[in-house]
Assembly symmetry: C2
Homo-oligomer: 227 residues x 2
């Protein structure tokens, strides 16, 4: 009974919007670790994460972190805390299906490994790709999907196939035991309720960017004289 | 004077969180258009967008859209309205710098064109790539960056280079007149205040996904008997 267990943990449920900001905080914190910065104020963390300081303090309070007045938050303690919340303390083997340009970019992506994600297997249907080394793994035939998931104990699958193949791949990943799927294919997938699914849309970031651009043009049209 | 103009537009400023959801609504709405669905309830739109219905109604109210009780929102009207807000009514020529796997994936990405983004120029430093056709554009030498931006009237630049080159590329894009930059390089860039900048981190989506996975494991550990 999730609700009862949650209550027993003695913590309120973390709001979805906070969850979506935790990785952003973590990225900022990892940058500070890299710069050997020992403590950080909520203002500085807010600046790095692109939100306001009150929101940072509120978000971190859900994790039971309140910082020290005049000092701020201990960076490495906060990394542990946010990292634990994000499941970083365990190793997450990831299988990538579809080794087109995007799949290759993901297989070579350096941002995964320092955050607990290990590319464990690469799968494709194209006979010409099988056996090719991408990153540090060989591409395996899609027929080995079930075996690869089992061997690696992979709970996470990334779908970087065409839209047409994506649902079939998702079904196979789920049957093989994957419980979290990140979908880059431009199609809406359906998965059972116990499987977490997120869809990444590369155009969305561009749209947010141009929204602000558009607002700026509207508010400050270059050709309009000041009132 | 932005504040004064904003007031004159007679509309409150749209909150940042709402802005970040508008492209998600738009994507869901474009799917409905594809399925020739004429109207949509806030509940259905909420389901497609992965938020709650009250939030959808609140968000759309900032745009002056309130729907019709018992009928819902007119899909094509809402597409126009959200699209206008996102700057989709104009054509956004985009230059992509860096034609590695990720740059290629972006140059070939089909989700851009139906949302107003046109890949106008591709630039790289690697002599072996110059002249190669990627998507439907040839790769040009980085020395032509300024010329390409001017010819195409590009306001948007996508950086898909290595971390080491990204700041220099950003500086050149800004000097050439680009006012919105989407950065995929794993590095924090600095740009002048009048330039919009967003950083895409492919590991963030994975972390949100595994956070929920982790919560589920914590709440419902497979090996723990029911209380």
């Amino acid at each position: 009974m999730p609700a009862r267990n949650a209550a027993r943990n003695g913590r309120p449920r973390i709001p979805e919007a906070t969850v979506s900001r935790l990785p952003v905080y973590l990225r900022a914190l990892l940058e500070l670790v890299g710069e050997q910065v020992p403590t950080v104020s909520s203002e500085r963390l807010a600046e790095l994460a692109g939100v306001n300081a009150a929101k940072v303090r509120k978000d971190l309070s859900y994790l039971g972190s309140y910082g020290t007045r005049g000092v701020g938050y201990d960076v490495s303690f906060l990394v542990d805390q946010v990292g634990r919340e994000l499941g970083m303390t365990r190793d997450w083997p990831v299988v990538i299906v579809g080794l087109g340009n995007l799949g290759r970019a993901l297989a070579n992506y350096r941002g995964f490994s320092n955050r607990g994600f290990r590319v464990a297997a690469l799968l494709d249907t194209d006979p010409a790709l099988i056996g090719e080394q991408v990153g540090d793994r060989p591409v395996r035939h899609i027929d080995e999907l079930e075996a690869a998931v089992a061997e690696e104990g992979a709970a996470v699958g990334i779908i970087a196939t065409t839209a047409a193949s994506a649902q079939e791949v998702a079904d196979r990943l789920v049957r093989a035991g994957v419980t979290a799927i990140l979908n880059f294919a431009p199609v809406v997938l359906s998965v059972p309720d116990n499987v977490s699914l997120r869809k990444v849309d590369l155009a969305i970031e561009l749209q947010i960017l141009t929204f602000y651009q558009n607002q700026q043009n509207r508010l400050c049209p270059a050709a309009t004289p000041s009132p």
